[in-house]
Every structure is written in C-alpha cells, then in structure tokens.
Assembly symmetry: C2
Homo-oligomer: 474 residues x 2
C-alpha cells in the first residue's frame, strides 16, 4: 500500500487519499458531488448525529422533520435569501410524465419549508420559545470543485430553527447555541473560534451571523458551522407572530444554528496524520479493535477474546474483533489508517495472563490487566481523548499570528489576527492582501494572547479598532 501524500505540503491530496484509504466515502456514484456513505463512514456520521442531538436536546430543542421539497412560491418570499440561494437550487418540475403546476425546490436549507408552518404553530407568547431542530439532507447545485464531506451536492445537515419573544431572547439563544457547540466540540476534540462575520459575508437574510471557524494548516481555515440571528427578517414575510400578554400581535425574533457532515472533514483535517484518519472515541465507528495474534498452544485465547469483546460491548463500547485472514501487521496498518482510537493485541501470552497489549492511535503502548481489565481499557480510551484534545489545542494555538502591516498579511503562513477599524473598505483591503477573507471579529477570547489592538492594518486610522481574523477559507 502506497504512502499517503504529505499533509502539510499537499493537503487536499492527502485529504482525498485518507477519505479513500479509510473507506469513509465512495465518490464513484454517477452524479458529481453526491457520494455514497459506506458502512464505515455511515457509522461515524451516526455517532456525530448522536452527539449533536444530545447536546442540542439538552438545551430544550426538540427534533422534527420537514419535507424535502419546497413550493416555489414559499421559497421566494424573502428577497435576500432567495438571491443567496437561487443559483444553487435543484428544481423538481415533473411528477411522472406530468409537468407540475408549481415547481418544487429541493431544500438547500429549510427556512422556507419550516416558516409557513411556524406561522401556524406560534399563536401566543405561551408558545415561545419554540426551539426545534432537524438532521436532514440538503441539496446544492455546487459549481465549485466538490470534496467528500467538505463540499458536496447532497449535504447531511443539522439545522436548528427557533422563535423567540424579542431580540434579547434571540441573542441569548445564539449564546446558548455557542455553549452547546462548545460541548459538541469537546466530544470532537476540535478547538474552534466563533467569529462574527462582516456585513458583506452574512447568511442571506440574516441580521448577523456568527461562524464557527477552525484553522486547518497555514493560512487556511474551514467554517464548520454557523449561528444566525434573523431578527424579524423572515418572521415578517412568513407572518410568524404572537399575541403578547397585553393582547398585541408581534412578529417573533428568529435564530438558526447550522452544522453539517463537514465536521467529519474537519476531524480528518485536524486530527489526521501521516498514517491516516484519527477519530476521537465518541465519533469513532469502532472505538476498539482487537487483533488476535495467533500462536501455538493458544488454548482458551478465542474464548478470552470473545468474552472480552462481549463485556466491552455490554458497556456500550463499539468493539470489533478482526478475525480476517490478514497478518497482524496488515491489520495494524488498516485500522490505523481508519483512525480507530485503541488497538488491543492479544496473543497466547496475553490470553494466558488475562492481559492485553494496548496501542492507542497516537502510538502510545502499554499493558492492561489482569485486574480491572475493562476499566483499564475504558481509562486508556479516555486518556487517548485527553491527549488528542491537548495536541489539537496546541496546534490550534500555533496556527494564529498577528499581523500589523499589509506586507505581513501578504506573507502569511498563519491565520492572521489583525487590527481592523471595522469599515468595509479596509475589510476588502485585508482580503486582497491575504488573498482570502476577513473572517470577522471573534465572539470569544482570541486564540492567542495579544495586546490592545493598535492602528487599523489597512487605513492606519487612529479611530477604535478590534482584533479580527483573516485567512483563506477552504
């Protein structure tokens, strides 16, 4: 098996090779940008869906599912939104051989599917807040180059839609979403920075947008999610209003929170290495792979392995015994490429002693057992996650550097932290210099320690500036 391309010098080649070698997606489906979720990739996605559902439901959001198809007249009610998506929409125009009276859009996102029904669900202040989410596939007629998980035409998508009583409540929901995402990101071992996008880069129809960005090497960044405050931009055209305790009718204030399969791409990009994928244990399709090392006189080895696997599964762990005919070395290679957190090697010696040799995906080796074997294995998994988090955080912090001149921006080898006066003109000057985007002003502490921001990097105005992030979004 050939080595993978070099991650830092040939990122995209490395990425595509890892997706294929790990068996996460099959892109040979005969429609460009619509890929097959293989069993292994699907299991990772199922775990991701569970983490997202758990954390959002912990904030009083309830699951729903709205139809895939949106009538053209509903789709076109909010002007900015339709302008933002029009070029990307797949249209159903025929049913059987009948031309449909009303074309139906395959949802590129679900505002326009959900909000006509929200108008029926919300009557009174007692119906608020209304927090619902769905995990569905969305469709975008992408004209850019597609990449598994990162940019596809059928997108596995998480979207929360909420109605709030007023602007402050909607602001609070944005913050609650940020906290929920921080918990998801902990499970994913994925450090991120929430960034308020500049006006010219908001979601179509939003009042403001907070993106969740991560650095993925050099100047490159990846937006892994977003949270939007819509104010009344959708509730007015869709007629979503409520009766106040005083008997007046008022439009609701709305928010949304979007995540997608791109998070799987982010996991590969952040944790992957020269050997392939590395999955945190909450997402890993298999958390533990047991590789039997055959040998003479291995009485009871099979029973020991089978019993251990069952006990681990009974604890809710995803454990796979690789009994295929490959040699142990080939199995090590395969499961390392696939990113399994923990490998247990069990030969006659281990079996006789009631121990296992454990090697985690970060290469740390040790013996576990014979006492407290399962607890020891669980502990190893959790130590692996901690170390993965620690390493990811260190890399994250090393990915940023300040720049105080446009010249520095032009020579960026990091995601840049720049003082910005807040004007669009200077924003575009920054974008030109870095040949990328002004991502915006972070909503949290900056990832690196910085002094108070000085003069704007572009106009040198003496007015107030803020630290903003600039990079090249993938």
């Amino acid at each position: 098996m050939a080595d993978l391309p070099d991650k830092s010098s040939a990122f995209i080649d490395w990425y595509l090779a890892v997706v294929e070698a790990a068996g996460l997606s099959d892109k040979r489906y005969p429609v460009k940008g619509m890929n097959v979720w293989t069993p292994y990739g699907f299991l990772a996605r199922r775990q991701l869906d569970r983490v997202m559902s758990r954390e959002i439901e912990a904030t009083a959001s309830r699951p729903v599912e709205f139809p895939t198809l949106i009538p053209a007249n509903e789709f076109q009610k909010e002007g900015e939104h339709i302008k933002g998506f029009d070029a990307q929409v797949f249209w159903v125009t025929k049913g059987g051989s009948t031309e449909l009276d009303m074309p139906l859009a395959l949802r590129p996102t679900s505002e326009t599917a959900i909000y006509p029904v929200f108008a029926l669900w919300v009557r009174s202040h007692r119906d608020l807040p209304l927090n619902v989410y769905q995990i569905v596939n969305t469709f975008r007629y992408e004209t850019k180059t597609t990449r598994p998980f990162l940019r596809v035409r059928e997108i596995h998508f998480f979207e929360e839609h909420t109605c709030q009583v007023d602007e402050a409540a909607a602001d609070a929901r944005v913050r609650s979403n940020l906290e929920a995402f921080a918990k998801m990101a902990h499970s994913l071992a994925l450090p991120f920075v929430p960034v308020r996008r500049p006006e010219w880069d908001k979601f179509p129809g939003a009042y403001y947008s907070v993106a969740l960005d991560i650095p993925i090497g050099g100047v490159r960044t990846l937006q892994i999610g977003s949270i939007h405050h819509y104010q009344e931009n959708f509730s007015k055209p869709y007629g979503i209003s409520y009766e106040t305790p005083e008997g007046n009718r008022k439009p609701v204030q709305q928010t949304t929170f979007g995540l997608s399969e791109r998070l799987i791409g982010a996991l590969l990009a952040v944790h992957g290495d020269a050997k392939g994928a590395v999955f945190p244990s909450e997402i890993a399709p298999y958390q533990i792979v047991i590789v039997p090392i055959s040998g003479k006189g291995a009485d009871g080895m099979d029973a020991f392995i089978g019993g251990l696997a069952t006990r681990l599964q009974d604890r809710g762990l995803r454990c796979w015994v690789d009994r295929s005919e490959d040699r142990p070395g080939a199995k090590y290679y395969k499961w390392e490429t696939a990113g399994v957190p923990l490998r247990l090697e069990i030969g006659p010696r281990e079996s006789a002693a009631g121990t296992v040799t454990a090697v985690d995906r970060l290469g740390r080796k040790g013996s576990i057992g014979p006492t407290d074997l399962e607890a020891g294995i669980v502990r190893k998994l959790s130590e692996f996650d901690e170390e993965l988090r620690k390493r990811a955080l260190a890399t994250f912090q090393q990915s940023f550097a300040t720049a105080t001149t446009l010249e520095e921006l032009r020579n960026s080898k990091h995601v840049r932290v720049v003082p910005w006066c807040g004007t669009e003109a200077c924003g575009h000057a920054i974008e030109t210099a870095i040949d990328g985007s002004l991502l915006g002003v972070p909503e949290s502490d900056l990832p690196i320690a910085v002094p108070a921001p000085g003069l704007c990097v572009a106009c040198h105005s003496t007015g107030p500036t803020k630290w903003a992030l600039a990079g090249q979004p993938l």
Copy 2:
C-alpha cells in the same frame, strides 16, 4: 375536546382524528402528501428506526446511505422496474437556472441508485454475502388519496439490499429477514402474516415477493413491509458479478427487504382505541408521564418527583414530567390520547409514602412502592407490553375466517382464508368476489386452525389447492 369517531364503523375518520389529536404529524404543509414530523411523531419514528436498525444489524447487515438523486440512464436499466415506477417518479430537471443534461429521479426506492455501485463493490466470492441497509426518505408522486404514515409522497423508508452467492443463499436471506421482522414485530406488539404474493402482484422486477400483511378490521388489510428475491433480474443489467473459487464469473443473486413509516400507521390501527393512540413501550415517544397532583402541605413532593424522573431516565427510560398548568384530568386525557404506556400520579400522599399510583394505557391501575419503586415501574411497563401483545394477538386471530364459496367471499366481514388452485384466472375471480385482492399463500402457519384445503373456491377443480388469503388492502 370532542370524542373521536368510531373506530370500527368509521375507521379512516377515526385514524385521521387520532393522528391529529395525538400530535403525531402536521399535514398542513403546502405540498399534498408531504407532512411535517412533529416533535412527538419524530420521537416515535426515531424509536422505530432504532428497533429496525438493531434487529437488522443483528443479522450482519451494515448501514449505508446512497444519494437521493438517480440519473435517468441508471434508473432505466431494468425494464419491469421502470415500468412499475415510471408514473410515480419526481424528476429534477434544473440546477439553478441551468437545464440538466441528464434528468435526475428522486429515488422512489433505491435499487437503481445502489446497484451501479454494488457492481464496483462485488469482485470475488469473498465479498459475499453483501448485506447493507439504509433508512432514508423516498418519493412517490402518488395520485391516490394520501394519508399520514399510510400513503404519503415523501416516505420514511427502510430498505435492505443484499447480494448472495446463489439462489439458495438468497432464499435463506429471505428467511433471515422474516426472522428479523418477527423480532421487530415483537417489539411493536404487531402480529402479522407473511404472504407470498401471486405472480401478478409481485414487486416490479422481482422473482418472488413475500409481503407482510396485517388485518386492520373487517375485510381490510394493510401491507406493512415486503421481502423480495430478485434472482439475477437486476444483477445482470447492472453487471453485478463475482469470481467463483474456480475462477468463473457469475451474476449475484439479490434480495431486498422494505419497511416504512407505515408501521407507525399500523401501530395506530392495531392498538388504538376510542381514547386515541396506544404505543408499545419500545416505540412510545414517552414511556412514562408523571402527573403531579397538587395539594396542601406537599413538602418534598417536587423533589420526590424530580428524583424519580431522573432515576428513571438514568435507566434509559423516556420519562416526562407534565408540569404544565392544566388540571390533572386534562393531562390524563391528553397523554391517553397520545398513547403513553404508563401514567404515574403523584400527590402529597404518594410522595410522603414514597409510592406512586400507576395507570397503564389499557386502564389497569395499581400502587407501586415504596420498596423497589423503579423496578416496580419497569415491571409495570413490561406487563403492559405483554398485555398489549396478548390483546393484539386475540384480535388478529379473530380477524380471519375461511370461505369455501364465492358467495361467502362476497359477504365477507373478515379477511378470508380460501382454498385456491393457484391459477391467475381463479385468483382474479376471488378478487372480484371480495372486491379486493388475493393476497397470496402464507409463508407461515395460517393464523387460524384449518383442515386440509378442499376444492378451489372459484373453479372447484379437484387438482391440488392451497389456503390463500383474500382481503381489501388499504
């Protein structure tokens, strides 16, 4: 709140009223036959999906997901299949404002999406059996009247697709699917009969089809799933073949197994009563609802209820405390309509004694605690399921009656068990007499005790006959 229509004399009216009163689906979405999964309905569906996934994965089937859109040329490779579905397909013809070169079908079922990729996945006999399944939405441009869960245009669908080494292995997979469904049906408390459909009623493209039928009152039946043997009907046009150990290439033999959200409709139809829905505990969105009965001097009642709810949730039970401002009687009514298996009434008296008053959805009342409170509640839930199963089985058995003359068939008040010679002409004569369908010959024991079949009910031929089922499929 108005009473529900009568279930036996006005089944469809009763059914629609229950779906609405229980809050399982919202059909006010502006596309006919495409309904909104409300939070409550979605939770039932999520449980159903888990049961289906668990049982099929226990038979070595692995989850996948193939794209929603199928290129027209792939869709049209198998002649019978395309004839069967052509009139029902939604077509995507535009991306943005661009006319697509190749129209894309929204999958009405996924054979034609999956099999071009199976042709890449299967190379050698070592790749067989290949058993994968997906739970996705499918789309059918239905022209008949749509009904929530029973007949919709966007269908939540379970489909297993397998490749087997030969015809006998494919027959064995059909039997394995039947066993897996029997386990699902146990969780659903849903007695069923597997029936081999007559030739003229097979799935388009199948060699043979086994349908899973249930009686739903009077002459009416509901097909709740199907298992098909395709032989080489798809593997030949799609080029799915393998190298035998001897080095020859051979087309695989294929099977599929389909289930859908219709199972939720079946649960309502079979278990529902004059008060509304009744969910078996594995599917119930909430298994337990706690209704606090307020009173004077209720010190510690809140803490008792909160603690109990937490301990039940820690055991993995779906428990909801209804702290809304409605009166207890209104809450009883609401949760009975919604089909919650077990209601716990807790007032100051219960709280002080550490007990609960438990009322199950079949109306059986008792006190639980103070010792072993949670275990007692778990036991009550399992007794509820057993009783539900017992009642459903009794109703099931009472739903069938033999008929040995066409005259009897014409006056059917039951699903009929008839002696049939096996010819299509007599099959159609039976269908005309009962104003419905010859469902076919059961693959299992008949639901009622019968002697050896006598002369064919239609032609009275003295040749060999078999007992077949006839009814009016919904």
